[in-house]
Each structure stands twice: as C-alpha cells, then as structure tokens.
C-alpha cells in the first residue's frame, strides 16, 4: 500500500523545475493517476512553480510541495515565503484577442485554474499557500 503524504522542498529556480515534476510524476504514477491527467497536473505545477521562481523572491528562496492522496484525488499544496501574491485575484487574460493584440501575461495561472478541479489561495504566517486539487 502506497503512502498518502509526500513532501519536497526545493530552491525556487527554473533549474529545479524538473526535480519538482519528477517528484510529482513518480507519486502520481504510484497512485494510478492516468497519463493524461499527470500531464495536465504537470502543466499546472510548472506554471505555479515558475511564477514563484520568477517573481516571489528578491534574491532566492524555497518552495515546498506537499502531496496528499485520497481515493481518486490528489491535493498539492505549494508554499513559499516570498512577497504576498494571490494569483487567483488576477483577472483572466482576454483569450479572444488577435495575435497582434495579445500579451502573454496571465496565461500560466489560467492554465492552473483550467486544469485543476479546484484552486485556493491563503496568506498565512507571511507565506503564500496555493492549494490545488485534482480529481481523477
């Protein structure tokens, strides 16, 4: 019987993206998550993690990942100690604009919202806590 809780702490840098995704994919596979869903969760986590890597800290800092599995669902909690930022408070980009008018901002968080079943943000003890749940 596989365990239900896993934790990873990394420095929030682009170089660690594949460490994070490798950790995630390994445990999702152990818990019989379908390949297609693993891909979608990877996408959400890449977007969320890269946001922290690029914007949360003036210098560098860490991102913590906690995975919690229940029957047919995973909850991924990402915590950082960077500046307060609620990704869910940002307006969604206008996806109907033409290529010339389109900026690229906000697409990452849109992908997080669309690929996860639910996403919640909390600010606690000077930490940003993003709770992403996906049923499968």
């Amino acid at each position: 019987m596989a365990e239900n809780n896993y934790r990873l702490v990394v420095d929030a840098t682009d170089e660690n993206l594949h460490t994070v995704l490798g950790f995630l994919e390994e445990h999702l596979e152990e818990h019989d998550c379908p390949f297609k869903v693993i891909m979608q969760i990877s996408l959400a986590i890449e977007e969320a993690f890269v946001n922290v890597a690029h914007y949360a800290y003036e210098e560098t800092g860490t991102a913590d990942f906690d995975l919690y599995f229940e029957d047919g669902a995973v909850t991924i909690t990402m915590t950082d100690s960077g500046m307060a930022f609620d990704p869910l408070a940002q307006e969604d980009p206008d996806v109907s604009l033409s290529a010339e008018e389109r900026g690229i901002g906000g697409l990452g968080i849109l992908l997080v919202k669309k690929t996860m079943t639910s996403v919640e943000y909390k600010r606690e003890d000077d930490k940003n806590i993003l709770i992403m749940r996906r049923e499968y």
């Binding site: 993206l17 996408l43 890449e46 977007e47 890269v50 996806v95 690229i104 697409l107 849109l110 690929t115």
Partner: protein, 98 residues
C-alpha cells in the same frame, strides 16, 4: 528537446521533439531568432512534441508577430493534449493549426 530545422529556399520547417517548457523554450527562441529574416513560409511540426507550457506559448506568439505580414506560419501534427492547451488559452483562434 530536439529542434530539427529544414530549409528549402524561403520555406523553413522546424520539427520539435520532447517538451517545450520553461527550460527548453529559450532554446527554441534562440534557434529562431535571426533565422526568420528571409523566410516567407514557416511550418512548425509538432508530431513528436509531447508537452507545452505557457513559456512555449510565449515563443509561438512572438513568432506569430514576426511572421505576420511576412508570409505563412502554421503548426502541423498537433497531438490532443497540446490541442487542449491551445483551446484553453485561445491560441486555437490565433494560430493556424493543421
């Protein structure tokens, strides 16, 4: 990620293999920068591309802006998972996908 470029006259085909993500998108940007000056037809072949994130979308959008007015730009052989990302982000309407 592997990037295979094939040039025939003014037509450039760029085949991508693997993952177009935060760590690999700058490679593609670097490969294309400066290679598009005389190009009037650009085809991106996604047959062996498995994954794309917003970093990859950013490069596709930049290329679209460069190619606009210069000629044809299309993406071919897109798998279902990547098509879904194009749908969510509205890229399906701004890129020519065959």
């Amino acid at each position: 990620m592997e990037i295979i470029k094939t040039l025939e006259g003014n037509k450039l085909t760029v085949a991508l293999k693997g993952r177009l993500d935060t760590t690999t998108a700058p490679e593609l940007e670097g490969e294309l920068k400066g290679s598009l000056d005389d190009i009037t037809s650009l085809v991106m072949d996604f047959k062996d591309l498995e994954y794309i994130s917003s970093a990859g979308l950013r490069v596709l959008l930049q290329v679209s802006k460069i190619m606009n007015g210069k000629g044809e730009y299309k993406i071919v052989n897109v798998c279902a998972d990547i098509m879904e990302v194009f749908e969510i982000t509205g890229f399906i309407d701004i890129l020519t996908i065959e």
